[in-house]
């Protein structure tokens, strides 16, 4: 019975792939009062559906472990349904329906974790519903402008309505991708969600916001240029969006460095990475959108890999803080390799495809002559190296800091299979960046009405500002890696004799209870001393939101005073109001 359910669940998780491969005609579903839901597959949605088709079974596989969790399976199926509706929708109502199904089913999945607290759950659902309601408001404005719900370009720009539309839609999608200062729900949710589900949240659901932002570009042709004119060599409205993205990524990067918890670090890194995508969409040129899509693809693969690996570590050790882990390299070698590949992709270093994505975005910034933005982005992507280092060092190197870390074994196979697949995909995409450009990115660009980037061969990435050959790059790096690793294993025995990792921290002193025995401990703490960064790290919008909650509760209490307990007060209130209204009516000459 439980095996049947598991097989069924796995089959359901393959449904996006099935949809993608067998989608034929467009479908229409009449809803109400002339509203018709249209479903169709276009190249843009096909790209995002591909991400979903890749990610869904890989996340489902680890969920199969243990006794079947039927409610979670059902909710996951609903979530996939919602996301497919969202992606296939050809009109805004269908889009909204999918968006909302995705929102509430993912919220209910979030509640399946025992770590979710009231604050985290509330911030998740309220931010996401606020996003949804802004979207709905935008849809209604759109409807009042065009008299239609179909997703299409707005013909006549001008007047305040298109701007209101852009702001409403923009805010809705920026909340979803977790842009500063609307990101508050992201770290909490990614942190508290069931470990495997965090992978889904970060890798796939944040991409739905990206999909929305790209749709926004289709609503306003010429990539937002029509709204506010142009600045330097790019659209001025996009300039604002690009800065929002860059500031998000800088702040989130520093936040990530100062985290003590693996999942929170990954959450902030996710915000930062999606910030790059936001920037690229703001630039809006063909190179930039190509870069954004490539980055979305890479980020999906990388975050799936990292979150699944981290989930495996947490499963085996029960620990999630860096200070409690360490020295897992011997016990969990595959996980180590997975994190290694993951952080190389995350940091955007060659030879993995993260480099290609960043390269495209940088080039597009140069092309738009937005050099200040380029500098800021370089800053954040360099700072990202630090948290990447923390991510590989703290759990895997050094020495084990908890009994669980000392006895852990490699993660079970449902966790390892997705890791291996994802590693393979990342390496393959690193070797063949041109393949990605030619078959995944260019169709989308054509559909958006932008010039395709093109690639001379599968292995090459080519832009007007130069490119590189992935095959050569991978060969060089692969050879170097093989040499270093081989040398390490050859010399390993002698190195171990030379000293134990414990020598590093004991160094002649007897450690006390509060001596950090771990290099990762307190890493990033010193960042607070740097003037601007310290200020940013100290200040959050939490206070504002707590204040807002307190104020609305106070208002609720005040208004609740109206609803007294004494019937005489009720009647007195009614009679007094009646007398007051009557006086008003009499004074204004009987007009109601």
């Amino acid at each position: 019975m439980s095996l049947m359910i598991k097989i069924l669940f796995l089959a359901v998780s393959l449904s996006p792939a099935l949809t993608l491969s067998t989608w034929g005609e467009s479908l229409a579903w009449p809803l109400f009062g002339g509203i018709e839901l249209l479903f169709d597959l276009n190249p843009i949605s096909a790209f995002f559906l591909l991400l979903l088709a890749l990610g869904a079974p890989l996340v489902a596989l680890p969920m199969l472990r243990g006794a079947p969790d039927r409610p979670a399976y059902a909710l996951y199926a609903l979530l996939l349904l919602g996301m497919q509706l969202l992606l296939l929708a050809g009109d805004f109502i269908g889009f909204f329906v999918g968006w909302e199904i995705m929102t509430w089913s993912s919220y209910l999945l979030l509640l399946r974790s025992s770590r979710t607290d009231l604050e985290g759950a509330q911030s998740y659902i309220l931010f996401n519903l606020a996003s949804a309601f802004l979207l709905l408001a935008g849809i209604l404005v759109f409807h009042s402008l065009t008299g239609d719900f179909r997703i299409q370009a707005i013909d006549q720009l001008g007047g305040p309505e298109p701007l209101a539309l852009a702001v409403l839609f923009g805010l809705a999608f920026l909340i979803k991708v977790g842009t500063l200062p609307l990101h508050l729900w992201v770290p909490r949710a990614y942190d508290q969600a069931p470990d495997i589900f965090s992978a889904f949240l970060s890798a796939l659901m944040s991409k739905m916001g990206v999909y929305g932002l790209i749709l926004l570009a289709t609503l306003f042709p010429e990539a937002l240029s029509g709204l506010l004119g142009r600045l330097l060599n790019g659209p001025a409205a996009g300039y604002i969006l690009a800065w929002i993205g860059v500031i998000t990524s800088i702040v989130a990067t520093f936040k990530a460095i100062s985290q003590e918890d693996m999942k929170r670090l990954l959450a902030y890194s996710s915000i930062a990475q999606v910030g790059y995508i936001t920037t690229a969409i703001g630039v809006g040129s063909s190179l930039a959108i190509g870069g954004a899509l490539f980055q979305a693809l890479v980020h999906t693969l990388v975050k799936l890999l990292l979150f699944i690996t981290v989930a495996g570590i947490i499963l085996q050790t029960g620990r999630r803080r860096f200070n409690d882990l360490g020295h897992l390299i011997d016990r969990m070698p595959i996980s180590f390799l997975a994190v290694l590949i993951g952080i190389i992709g995350l940091a955007g270093m060659p030879p993995l495809p993260g480099f290609a994505a960043k390269y495209l975005i940088f080039v597009s910034l140069i092309d738009a002559r937005w050099l200040l933005l380029l500098a800021a982005m370089l800053l954040s992507s360099t700072a990202a190296f630090i948290y990447c280092y923390k991510l590989i060092y703290a759990p895997f190197l050094g020495h084990a800091n908890s009994p669980e870390a000392k006895t852990a074994t490699e993660a079970p196979w449902p966790y390892l299979v997705p890791q291996v697949i994802l590693m393979g995909l990342l390496v393959a995409l690193g070797i063949f960046p041109g393949f990605g450009i030619q078959f995944l990115i260019d169709p989308v660009l054509t559909a958006l009405g932008l010039a395709p980037i093109g690639a001379p061969s599968w292995g090459e990435l080519a832009t007007p500002y130069g490119g590189y050959d992935g095959v050569v790059l991978m060969t060089v790096f692969g050879t170097a890696f093989a040499l270093v690793t081989g040398g390490f294993f050859l010399l390993r025995g002698r190195m171990r004799r030379a000293g134990s990792p414990y020598d590093l921290s004991y160094a002649g002193e007897v450690p006390t209870a509060d001596t950090p025995l771990h290099y990762g401990a307190g890493m990033g703490r010193e960042l607070r001393r740097i003037p601007l960064i310290g200020w940013i790290l100290l200040h959050t919008t939490t206070g504002f939101l707590t204040g807002l909650t307190r104020q609305s509760l106070a208002a609720a209490g005040l208004l609740g005073g109206f609803y007294g307990r004494n019937p005489q007060t009720w009647i007195l209130l009614a009679v007094l109001l009646f007398a007051l209204a009557l006086t008003l009516v009499t004074l204004t000459g009987g007009a109601l």
């Binding site: 005489q568 009647i571 007195l572």
Partner: protein, 126 residues
């Protein structure tokens, strides 16, 4: 000397004044008295004032009762029968509500020993 009282305007004015006074007496009882039965009496008095207003204003001096009897088949000079019929119905309904109210009040008193409207705090819980 008091003929002017026969003119409908004056008579109706007096009726209006009277029923308004009754209405406010009832309202006063409802709002100012704490005893449950007094509040119910207040409601009854308010209802009564409305009936009175209806009957009084729908009739003019000199009209006869709208009963077809004793070979009387002419409608002239009769009061409008509808308000009287309606008032009868309304009195019956008011009676039923009052009876229910009083029975509930008595049960409440038996159960709690309380008949003070402002001291009804069983529902307080937040």
């Amino acid at each position: 000397m008091l003929e002017f009282l026969d003119s409908p305007r004056v008579l109706h004015g007096i009726y209006i004044l009277g029923s308004l006074t009754l209405f406010f007496i009832g309202l006063y009882g409802l709002l100012a008295k704490r005893h449950l039965l007094k509040a119910l009496i207040g409601i009854a008095v308010m209802e009564l004032s409305v009936y009175l207003l209806f009957i009084a204003l729908a009739t003019s001096p000199g009209e006869t009762a709208p009963i077809l009897a004793d070979g009387l088949i002419d409608f002239t000079g009769m009061a409008d029968p509808i308000p009287q019929a309606l008032t009868l119905t309304a009195i019956v309904i008011g009676m039923a509500v009052l009876a229910l109210g009083v029975s509930l009040a008595i049960q409440y008193h038996r159960l709690t020993g309380n008949s003070d409207m402002r001291a009804m705090t069983e529902l307080k819980d937040s």
